[in-house]
């Protein structure tokens, strides 16, 4: 049984579709990378999966005991967040908000969850520090910890390594791999970097003029056409 199924999706804004008839499914424990050029609709696809935007056509279904709002999400940073006066702990625990329903305050289980998430991301030691004073890589780890508070099942990452230096990038990939391998969390990641996608992912979804969906091995075999297009992009960004 698949955790997430996209059926015949057409996506876009104001009835103008940029992606047509896209179908794929993600099983529990998969590591899917979505690659494609700028403007090919990667972020739109992600917004649709999250339910922030309605598809023009088709359906997004969840299964295998996954509820639609159990998806942890690592967004690209917004301007608002860059100078937000909040401590790391406050941000991480806000990931539990979806569990609260109408209950106004967090209970001890949720507080514990936040502590564990911070430990997993290796940010426990600066939990009292201010978010806006952290480096880019540290901020991403804080947001990842928040996503872990929202889910134990599936993570959606929107270009998590954009703008980070190679060392921090490697560290972040390692943390994400660890969640996937050790905790069995399904990962769906948008990426520009095809080389890294092939290295870390188990499945690849390539969108753009040509659409490919399959395992990483099939993707590599299917040949140079996708790869070369992707590689160029990867080097540019």
């Amino acid at each position: 049984m698949a955790q997430l199924i996209c059926q015949n999706l057409s996506l876009g804004y104001e009835a103008k579709a940029i992606l047509h008839d896209l179908s794929f499914s993600v099983d529990a424990g998969d590591y899917l990378c979505i690659v494609g050029e700028n403007g090919s609709g990667k972020s739109t696809l992600m917004r649709t999966i999250l339910g922030l935007q309605a598809p023009i056509h088709g359906k997004v279904l969840t299964g295998d005991g996954l509820c639609p709002n159990e998806i942890g999400y690592l967004p690209q940073q917004t301007v608002v967040q860059k100078d937000f006066p909040a401590s790391v702990r406050e941000i991480v625990i806000s990931g539990c908000q979806g569990r609260c329903g109408l209950r106004p305050f967090y209970n001890s289980k949720e507080k514990q969850l936040a502590v564990e998430a911070m430990e997993k991301m290796g940010i426990g030691y600066f939990s009292k520090r201010c978010y806006r004073e952290l480096s880019g890589g540290q901020q991403q780890r804080v947001l990842l910890a928040r996503a872990l508070c929202a889910t134990q099942k599936i993570l959606l990452l929107d270009e998590p390594v954009a703008g980070l230096d190679p060392k921090v990038t490697a560290e972040l990939y390692r943390l994400i791999d660890e969640r996937n391998h050790r905790d069995g969390i399904t990962v769906i990641m948008i990426s520009h970097d095809v080389a890294a996608a092939v290295e870390h992912a188990s499945h690849i979804l390539h969108i753009g003029k040509t659409v490919f969906f399959g395992t990483k091995e099939e993707y590599v075999e299917s040949g140079a056409r996708y790869m070369s297009v992707g590689m160029e992009r990867g080097e540019e960004s």
């Binding site: 999250l50 608002v80 106004p104």
Partner: protein, 285 residues
């Protein structure tokens, strides 16, 4: 010095001074609470826009000769706040443009209506007092004080009960929505509460100066503190302190209440800037 104290104790015997202090403190408290959220969501000017709408509403109430104008003003302002936030995103006219249009429009219509239909002999004085705050804080009736107390209690309890949700929605609306928090609903709640605060605060500082009361304490606290809770608490305390100081100075010195409070806020803001700089240089975490 003793004459000032004498004057002060003389004034403190009058109930209207007590009323003014109670209402001033409550309004300052309420307005500062949501200020942090508004500033961070880049909605600083919503307070300003809504206060102009409230001015328009007040003009309509005056024309219709409504004796108790509070409910009417409150309704119109709340409706406008909801409309503003609804149309804030993804529309042809962008949020800030809509806001500018609405606020200037309401101001113009309000003045026009007052000019055409007002029976008052001192029109300029009327308009001036509505815009810049007036002595109305010193002429409050007991009913108005109670209304203000009730509304303030409602605002503060809403804020405390929804504090964590307001934080989540302020920091990252998309994330909150994707993980099952009804972000739209809480945006709506924020809009309604802001509208209530604006209408309340108009009594104190007048409609042109309302946004000062909303944004100054928040900006001030953001200079010094680094967690959301500390910023919120600090802005509430500072706002109340500045309002008290402002009211006392204006009573003793005979200056206009609204602008005195705002002046105290400005002084406090620059002091906070300096304190923030000093703390920053020491590299405090």
């Amino acid at each position: 010095m003793s004459t000032i104290l004498d004057k002060f104790s003389l004034y403190m015997q009058y109930p209207f001074v007590h009323y003014a202090l109670i209402v001033g403190v409550l309004i300052a408290l309420c307005s500062s609470l949501l200020g942090v959220t508004l500033v961070l969501k880049r909605f600083s000017f919503i307070g300003d826009g809504l206060s102009h709408v409230a001015f328009g509403a007040m003009a309509i109430a005056a024309v219709l000769n409504v004796t108790n104008d509070m409910p009417l003003i409150l309704t119109i302002t709340v409706v406008c706040a909801i409309l503003l936030l609804r149309t804030g995103q993804n529309t042809k006219i962008k949020g800030d443009a809509t806001l500018a249009m609405l606020s200037v429009g309401a101001l113009a219509i309000g003045y026009l209506l007052m000019n055409l239909f007002s029976t008052s002999t001192n029109l300029t004085g009327d308009v001036c007092t509505t815009l810049f705050g007036s002595t109305s804080i010193l002429t409050l009736t007991q009913t108005e004080v109670w209304l203000c107390v009730v509304l303030s209690v409602v605002v503060v309890s809403i804020f405390i009960l929804f504090y964590n949700k307001i934080f989540a929605v302020t920091f990252d609306e998309n994330f909150a929505q994707a993980t099952g928090t009804k972000a739209d609903l809480y945006n709506l709640l924020i809009a309604v509460v802001v509208a209530v605060i604006v209408v309340l605060a108009m009594n104190l500082v007048g409609s042109l100066l309302v946004s000062a009361l909303v944004i100054f304490p928040a900006l001030l606290a953001m200079r010094i503190f680094k967690s959301f809770k500390a910023v919120t608490v600090c802005s509430a305390i500072l706002s109340v302190f500045c309002a008290l100081a402002g009211i006392l100075v204006s009573i003793l010195g005979g200056t206009p209440v609204g602008s005195t409070i705002v002046a105290v806020d400005i002084v406090a803001f620059f002091m906070a800037c300096i304190i923030g700089k000093i703390l920053g240089r020491r590299g405090t975490v």
